[in-house]
């Protein structure tokens, strides 16, 4: 029979351990808080306006905008209709780049997944390629392409597609790694080629998860395409920038664009949330 009641020595050792852990945790917390505080003060010192001075002004701009828009509320329906095509363009940018990026990501993921890769030796190469695609911020590619291609939606589509290919490729290949390889073996044993093995053995297994990730990416890309528009690449972001530059007198337009963007983002979020939970739960 082993004595299970802890001896005094055990208890002391445990309490000592607990105390030390708490001390380390506390120390880490103090260092972390100090870093946050120091970082914030540094950021504030390099900012044009201070935090305390700016805080009361946070609501000043929105209220000014809303007040003017309220005065001109009769214009709003017309403005909403006027900017709807831009919103459609932004949505198209997001959808096309999710599609193209997603298709590229499928290829990259299949080529870089262990057990599935067409050329097993090149998996490392394809992974590094995805890392590089993921690391380049969209704005870099977009701005350079605007210089070459001129403004418009195409630079944004290319920039977002490249990033999407890298980001989705990684998620896709993580899903594909967990796929059951038995169907692939079965298909290989009856003489199926690589395309058939992947298309019939792997894709049906991973499709729900892949689709769910692609939908999530679509939400992200919608925001990204609005932002890229703001730096000069078509869509509703560009309209917003023009209206903002005009300043006073066009705030009704700003509100109309805000409203369109807000409704679009919330609606897409909702729809994709529902679709994703249906996909994953089956």
């Amino acid at each position: 029979m082993v004595d299970l009641t802890p001896g005094a020595a055990h208890r002391d050792a445990y309490l000592e351990l607990a105390r030390r852990r708490r001390m380390y945790g506390g120390l880490l917390l103090v260092i972390f808080v100090a870093m946050m505080a120091a970082g914030f003060r540094l950021a504030e010192s390099r900012n044009a306006g201070g935090f305390v001075d700016g805080l009361p002004m946070v609501l000043a701009f929105p209220s000014e905008v809303l007040a003017e828009a309220w005065q001109k509320r009769a214009n709003l329906p017309g403005l909403l209709a006027e900017h709807l095509p831009s919103l459609v363009e932004t949505l198209n940018i997001a959808a096309v780049s999710t599609l193209i990026g997603g298709l590229a990501a499928m290829g990259l993921a299949l080529l870089s997944t262990r057990g599935l890769a067409r050329w097993p030796r090149l998996t490392g190469l394809f992974r590094r390629l995805m890392d590089a695609l993921r690391a380049v911020p969209e704005i870099v590619v977009a701005l350079v392409l605007i210089y070459i291609l001129g403004g418009g939606p195409v630079p944004a589509v290319i920039a977002i597609s490249l990033h999407t290919a890298g980001a989705l490729g990684k998620l896709f290949s993580e899903v594909a790694e967990n796929a059951d390889l038995k169907p692939v073996e079965g298909l290989a044993s009856v003489g199926a080629g690589w395309g058939q093995q992947v298309g019939l053995g792997v894709l049906p297994q991973v499709a729900p998860n892949w689709l769910s990730y692609a939908l999530m990416r679509f939400e992200i890309n919608l925001r990204a395409s609005a932002i890229l528009g703001f730096v000069g690449s078509g869509g509703i972001g560009y309209d917003l920038k023009l209206a903002m530059q005009w300043g006073m007198g066009r705030y009704d337009e700003v509100v109309a664009i805000f409203a369109l963007l807000f409704v679009a983002i919330v609606a897409i979020d909702r729809l994709s949330d529902q679709a994703r939970s249906r996909l994953v739960r089956g």
Binding site: M36, G49, P137, E138, V140, Y147, V154, V157, V231
Partner: protein, 441 residues
Amino acid sequence: MTATATLSPALTDTVLTRFARRRLAAFAVPLAILAYLAYAAIAFDLAGLAGRARMDNAAVLLADFWQHKTHVTRDNRSGALRVAIDGEAKGVYPADRLPEWIATQDDATRIDLGQGHVVTYDAQGARYDVPGYGLIDIRPQDGRLRLTAPEPLPDWISASANRVSVTTPAGRFAYTRSKVETFRYEPGWALFFFTLDSPFHYMSWPEIAASALWGPRVTPDLPNIAAMARDFWTNPMWRHGDVIWAMFETVLMAFLGTFGAAILALPLAFMAARNMMPLGALRFGLRRVFDFIRGVDGLIWTIVLARAFGPGPMTGALAILLTDTGSFGKMFSEALENIDEKQVEGIRSTGAGAVQRARFGVIPQVTPVLLSQVLYFLESNTRGATVIGAIVGGGIGLLLTQAIQTQKDWEDVAYYMVLIVLMVMAMDSFSGWLRRRLIKG
């Protein structure tokens, strides 16, 4: 056939209709995608794009990414010679330290462009010797330029009474009445380490290493290694000091924004989780607040905050903080709703209060999930901070947009791109490392 015989007709029917539906889908889905892409190609005016694309810009950009040009300019009125990298005042060579491919003698200047191309400026005018073509000779006479060159003139020479310009693979040459100018292209980023006013520019790498370690002091008031660091840091051409600061600002924005949002969102998430907060109305209200913050989107928050706080890194950090509070609030409260209630039960059975239950029953369970989400956001926010920096005017994003807007400092753009990619990759591996350490340990 025995297998089919045992199937009921109804089942066979459903199987067959499903097969048919699958087969239809196998064609319909790619067809729908193609149709959509075709519509998008028309909507985006892909056909007109070819006309608008500026391939000459692309060529300039690609060349500038990896090479630089040196302008050798002579003022035809005063006869003064100026040799400057990219034609900038910061890159003017001192007259006694011209590059070795320029030879000056009395009034004559001989510029060796390589591959046998030689340009000579002298008192009569200028000559360009193009191998395989002949001598291009330009002399000003009675206020006009007189060109002597083998006829017929090829299309890479453009000549008028006031201006003659020659473009060859080795370089570019232009003669006007007021000045004559030659561009020599060389691979590499010029003056990356030291500019021409630094004594270290004129040393080779072994010499630099030697003078750093034991050589005599080049500047009397500083040890050599400190002088090198100063000259590198304050390099006026590449502004390394400012660039490093900008990168640091970008990372700072991401760090402050992400962790600030996490700290703010944690208590809010407790209040918005079904199993933690009995008050339904508050829960519902908080959820809608999260939805609102997420729906308004970072772009608009950034604009609103930039109005209040002015441009700078703090504005960017606050914009990230606000946007992510919405996302974290939603994600954290979902994680809190998915915890294992048994542990909380156990803690409750010892008579613990609500705070103690949260501290010992809930926090240890959700910490790995929350931390991994926060670290994932930290990495993606580093990228986002570049974009936000471009809008609010802080960090590397600002430098990048400025460099692109000048439309000529493409080597700077390439430099910033490389740095941004390295920064994002470093943050990626750092957050991955931290995630593994914290979640395992």
